[in-house]
């Protein structure tokens, strides 16, 4: 018994000693990349970018994590466990703008750098927010994509995610602001597929029935654009109705080939994960400070300039079409 006790005690001491030695030795900054849900191609690609940034910086360890479904509750649990692990920075793409604020405030109180990227958190819950692109640019881009292939104009409809999705609503709002710059383009409806393949498919079918003269469907969501393209193909209207919007090259490759989609856009998620990591690192090491007007360097992506809400835009969305889809479909 006593031998066992001794053994245990010495084991514990040894473990503690190595732990102390370990933490003293490693001054690696631990940056947590928290995503809306694991298993989404877009975020897996962002994690790749974060790893790239970590390699470039050298003394950074990336913790890629998130809930298994896109809920705010799941993310709060993840944040709490990250606080317990005492990470140096959290870079989060939020499932809910407001629900995460208390948990993230707690993290900031413990000295953890918190930034949001992709899908933002209310200003009091983060130090800064990195938009993949500016909302105005995206709103303009999605209608431009439709207009580019409609020289004579025509009816277009929007297939969004859920009616409460922050991202999509903002982009559609921005799109509506600039639609007068595209004469002849007539936005006839906005419907919601809730980011479910079957519901989006059905909504796209509904659009084709309700508006027989429909020339394009704009789907600023990766589930919606794929479902709409499939619905258009099944209705044998590929080439007649152009499905465009925001999607991932790997998911859209088949539909670009079939002609259902002539082009679509997305920012580069690898760049986004990379930039978020760079910013989190620069803030956590006090090399930069998040305040209105500040310029924070993001390595090879240049720098981001913050506005009055401490928000900044990374870059313009990138257009993918038949000419470059093969090159990108294996990347993300």
């Amino acid at each position: 018994m006593s031998i066992l006790k001794k053994l245990l005690t010495s084991a514990v001491i040894a473990a503690t000693a190595t732990a102390i030695a370990g933490s003293a030795h490693a001054e690696d900054k631990r940056i947590a990349l928290v995503v809306k849900a694991l298993g989404i191609g877009f975020f897996e690609a962002a994690a790749k970018g974060a790893e790239e940034a970590a390699k470039e910086l050298g003394d950074v360890e990336i913790i890629y994590t998130g809930p298994t479904d896109t809920t705010a509750e799941g993310q709060i649990e993840v944040i709490n466990s990250l606080i317990a692990q005492r990470v140096d920075a959290i870079a989060i793409s939020a499932n809910d703008r407001d629900a995460l604020v208390p948990a993230l405030k707690k993290a900031m109180d413990r000295g953890i750098t918190v930034i949001s990227w992709d899908s933002g958190v209310a200003p009091e819950g983060r130090e800064m927010h990195l938009n993949p692109s500016s909302n105005a640019l995206i709103g303009n881009m999605i209608i431009k994509l439709a207009s580019d292939h409609l020289p004579d104009g025509g009816d277009v409809a929007v297939l969004s995610a859920s009616a409460t999705a922050t991202n999509q609503n903002t982009w559609i709002e921005e799109m509506n602001k600039v639609k007068d710059n595209y004469p002849g383009i007539n936005v006839v409806a906005t419907v919601y597929g809730d980011d479910l393949a079957d519901k989006s498919y059905r909504e796209a079918q509904g659009l084709m029935q309700t508006y027989p003269d429909l020339k394009a469907i704009i789907a600023p969501t990766s589930v919606g654009i794929v479902a709409a393209a499939q619905a258009v193909t099944d209705a044998e209207k590929a080439g007649e109705i152009n499905v465009t919007g925001l999607g991932l090259p790997s998911e859209m490759a088949g539909h670009v080939k079939s002609g259902a989609s002539k082009s679509f856009a997305i920012w580069n998620p690898i760049d986004l994960g990379y930039s978020a990591t760079m910013i989190a690192y620069n803030l956590a090491t006090d090399k930069a400070k998040a305040e209105p007007g500040a310029e924070i360097p993001m390595g090879r992506m240049g720098s981001v300039k913050l506005d009055d809400n401490n928000e900044g835009a990374m870059a313009d969305p990138f257009v993918y079409d038949a000419s470059n889809i093969d090159e990108f479909k294996d990347i993300f």
């Binding site: 694991l38 298993g39 298994t68 498919y201 794929v226 499939q230 790997s250 998911e251």
Partner: protein, 327 residues
């Protein structure tokens, strides 16, 4: 008596569907074009197939919440098989899907039968387990249209005599289940076990085994639907058919299948599924706010349950005439 009540219930539901379709046609005449109605049926086919399986499970006083997760897992696995070995014939793919689904269903069944765990707990658990396994199988990656072989995607859309294969499979399943439920000892056992498990034991029916078989049926149908779903939407990922299990249960409930077991019919389940199918397909074309869509689907379920409760209320027999007015 009960037979009549059930029959009239289905008649009422059929009338409700007709009336609703008529109402939709006043706002959007194109809805009742035969081509569109065929479309609606085709779109509802997966729901019909799953509702048939769910019906036999509910008949035995159980419930299967794992059908959608089973569908998604089987769908992901057959899609993966297709990407690795595109030359495997569709017949074999379907056989794999059905057997795999049946296996997942049997797992539910064993837990309910041998370990006597309440069905809702078992299937709530396996629902999460199956979704988790998809994640492990796919490592979170999507399988996209261009990765699937043409025959794999084409099969459910191929048309025979004007209807897509998907619709024909639903019709085949309906016929098969109508025969199983009405004409086989097992079919009668489903009703007996749900109606009165204790009495069923005395008539020599193995209650546990009957429930097990019900889960196997539900699982096999989920597996079959898994392939059809993935092929139809040409995409497989972790969350496909998320929340669909509740729609399947709702279809059964609307169709007059009693959650307390023992009451229900193939026609009822099919009509229940069609009811939801018509609602889901009509709402996008008649321009109703998405916020209302959920409320409308929900109200339909509550109204149906209210109908059920009224129809199934046991009328007590007055045996003490003098006390009848005293209370």
């Amino acid at each position: 008596m009960i037979q009549n009540a059930v029959k009239s219930r289905e008649a009422i539901l059929a009338l409700a569907i007709l009336a609703m379709t008529g109402l939709i046609a006043t706002r959007f005449p194109g809805f009742i074009r035969p081509a569109n109605l065929a479309n609606v049926f085709n779109d509802t086919a997966p729901l019909i197939i799953l509702a048939l399986g769910q019906m036999v499970v509910i008949l035995t006083r159980c419930i299967d919440l794992s059908v959608a997760a089973n569908l998604a897992l089987t769908g992901m696995i057959v899609a993966t098989i297709n990407t690795v070995a595109p030359d495997i014939p569709i017949g074999l793919i379907i056989a794999i899907a059905i057997s795999l689904g049946a296996l997942l269903g049997a797992f539910n069944g064993i837990l309910v039968w041998k370990l006597d765990i309440p069905p809702i707990v078992v299937t709530l658990g396996t629902m999460t387990i199956y979704r988790g396994i998809i994640f492990l199988v796919s490592e979170g990656q999507w399988i996209n249209a261009h990765e699937m072989s043409e025959p794999f995607k084409h099969f459910p859309r191929a048309t025979i005599a004007g209807l897509p294969v998907l619709s024909w499979i639903a019709i085949l399943c309906i016929t098969l289940f109508a025969v199983i439920v009405a004409r086989t000892p097992l079919g009668r056992a489903f009703f007996a076990v749900g109606g009165n498990p204790n009495a069923a034991v005395y008539t020599g029916i193995d209650v546990g085994f009957t429930r097990f078989m019900a889960y196997v049926f539900a699982g096999a149908l989920s597996g079959l639907t898994g392939y059809l779903w993935v092929a139809r939407y040409a995409v497989a990922y972790v969350d496909i058919a998320g929340g669909f299990e509740l729609e399947v249960v709702a279809a059964c409930v609307i169709g007059g299948v009693s959650i307390a077991g023992g009451i229900g019919s193939v026609a009822g389940a099919v009509l229940g599924a069609l009811f939801l199918g018509v609602v889901k397909n009509a709402l996008p074309v008649i321009n109703i706010s998405p916020f209302w869509q959920l409320a409308i689907s929900g109200s339909a379920i509550i109204i149906a349950i209210a109908f059920n409760a009224r129809a199934q209320r046991q009328k007590g027999r007055v045996i003490l005439k003098t006390a009848e007015h005293a209370t």
